[in-house]
Symmetry: C2
Subunit: 362 residues, 2 copies
């Protein structure tokens, strides 16, 4: 590409690649800069699309964006399958939220009552209903609820599919690290570099470590349970994401650390909670234990929009634990902003200028 | 090597390599046949030299051989260091045997009373003495004993050291798999192929799966404890082997299976017991989870000596959980048998003919 691109995207995770794909599909000339596409938080992510089960106290505006993006996912997945020829493992089996002990159930209930109060689709189940839906749950699980609209995709299939779609639409991948925005020459630069956005923009993005396990059903069949299971088990909050391949993702710790070591204590806590909730997992192979760094922000919400004082620079980062579910809406809104120059009102709560003086320029 | 070798050793684990080294050092022409030296049980082994803590009810003759070989280890390690220029991590810090709960302690006591009855060096400690020796033990550990003569080496340093010593002495490594003894042409063939000995000889050697973890102290310093710790923790029997490098080996399951998958349930049980006994291990990195196959025999004792009906074929296999500790005595006795043609009386309980009609020829 000899001419100056219209859009340079820094970061080839799901968010960056989806923006590149959508922009290229709109006829813009796009470059994507990343020495190792898909090697950031998405490589470790489980891929839950959970606007309901991830609706926490005090995060009202984020909850709205999660719901908006989750609603876009079925169409996004279908478009992507058509554009890339690849399947990203979208599954709509729904999510069960369960509590192991009476205390765990009380904690779970407190949250789903709040979610019901927001009008979100989550329905408490009688223990017999819970077991009918998922016989693999341990008999001692005290109770639960179903969030039928909380689905899943496979992030490790998402990244190559997005890359194929972006490249087929004409985007060019540049496998090099960008150390400063001055190294990039384009009409618009989009910083979608996850934790790397902090150094590039001065925005308050910090790494939040997560440790995740991958199990595999013996004999390589599918796991015996179909739902995503989010559980509280003796105070530990974990999720179990079953895939058709036989994989079960077990996660995740949330640690204010920037290393990516896997620790004995974290693996112990994840395995103990997983086996307490679904005993058959003890017989599964443990095939991977990994740690990744989520791009966290002071208010746990993403940072999407124009970087103040830096004309031509947009950011799309800080997606923390929600990068996969927020990929469609982020890509759509950023692409619209680039094409029209006008921010969608949906973006208002998430713009970079909300951090005011906290920002330091690099 | 164009002339027919005096000795062909099938299998380049510690036992096979040590025999090759000792024979070559005696002036014999030696070949060693293995496509992947050190890739069998020794790759997973912890390297405990535990004649006392491994003295179990009903294994009187094995206990004697373990003690004999452990007594040879200091000299063997020194000779090997001189011959190879490498250090095998021999450490004489001793072993603590501990029980977490009252039930665990009762089980441990029953065994060490038996061991004391045999005159073996194991001494019960008062709880305060136990903590003085090893402050890293959990406060709830109920009690324990010390076996000062139970030491350790690092099997992953042992194999390359033995290989270097054997090659320096003139042994030639042939990196190919031996599918049948007819493929090997030598005056004497020694089958030291671990589990592979079953197919080569028809002897009743079976794989016994063991799952083992390797942790690493944070910051890469040495672990905070010096002793090998063998513990009973809520009915789980485990060991913790600290190394100067910061590594701690945590093992091991004993499973009548022939696969080498790492399972979630086994990792959970090992980690739970490890952290219950030494809480600081929760903060250690989990760097490896592996499974290996020990060569087990009907009476848990090794098979060493001439193969009946097959002149010129010796076997040295079936070392089960004791391959590392038994390496010196096995190498010495097999070498003497080859050189003199006369079996040492020590070998009498361990010869292949003890299985009589159970043997099937291949």
């Amino acid at each position: 590409m000899l001419t100056r691109p219209d859009v340079a995207v820094v970061g080839a995770g799901p968010v960056g690649l989806a923006i590149a794909w959508r922009c290229a599909a709109r006829g813009l000339r796009v470059t994507v800069h990343d020495p190792a596409p898909g090697s950031g938080a998405s490589h470790v992510a489980a891929g839950m699309l959970s606007p309901v089960a991830e609706a926490y106290f005090g995060e009202h505006e984020l909850t709205g964006l999660l719901a908006e993006s989750a609603a876009r996912w079925p169409r996004f997945a279908a478009d992507l399958a058509e554009a890339s020829g690849a399947d990203v493992g979208y599954r709509a089996d729904g999510t069960l939220v369960v509590g192991l002990t009476a205390d765990d159930l009380a904690e779970a209930r407190r949250l789903w009552s709040y979610q019901q109060g927001l009008g979100l689709p989550i329905t408490p189940l009688r223990p017999s209903e819970l077991r009918d839906r998922e016989p693999a749950l341990a008999p001692r699980v005290r109770g639960g609820a179903v969030a039928p609209g909380d689905h899943q995709v496979d992030p490790r299939r998402l990244v190559p599919a997005l890359r194929a779609a972006a490249e087929r639409a004409g985007a060019v991948l540049r496998p090099a690290r960008v150390g400063a925005l001055s190294e990039v020459d384009a009409r618009v630069t989009v910083v979608a570099a996850g934790c790397g956005a902090a150094d590039l923009t001065g925005l308050p993005v910090r790494p939040v470590k997560g440790q995740v396990l991958r199990l595999r059903a013996p004999g390589r069949g599918a796991p015996d349970f179909r739902h995503v299971i989010r559980g509280y088990a003796d105070g530990e909050s974990i999720y179990l994401v079953p895939r058709d391949s036989g994989e079960v993702v077990v996660g995740a710790t949330v640690e204010e650390r920037a290393d990516t070591e896997v620790t004995a204590g974290a693996v112990l806590r994840l395995l103990r909670a997983a086996v307490d909730l679904v005993p058959e997992l003890a017989e599964y192979d443990l095939v991977e234990a990994t740690a990744g760094l989520r791009p966290g922000t002071p208010d746990n919400a993403p940072i999407i929009g124009s970087l103040p004082g830096r004309p031509g620079v947009l950011v799309a980062t800080g997606h923390h634990r929600h990068g996969i579910v927020l990929t469609p809406v982020t890509a759509d809104l950023v692409t619209e902003l680039i094409v029209t120059g006008e921010p969608d009102p949906l973006l208002a709560p998430f713009t970079p200028d909300r951090f005011g003086k906290e920002r330091r320029w690099n």
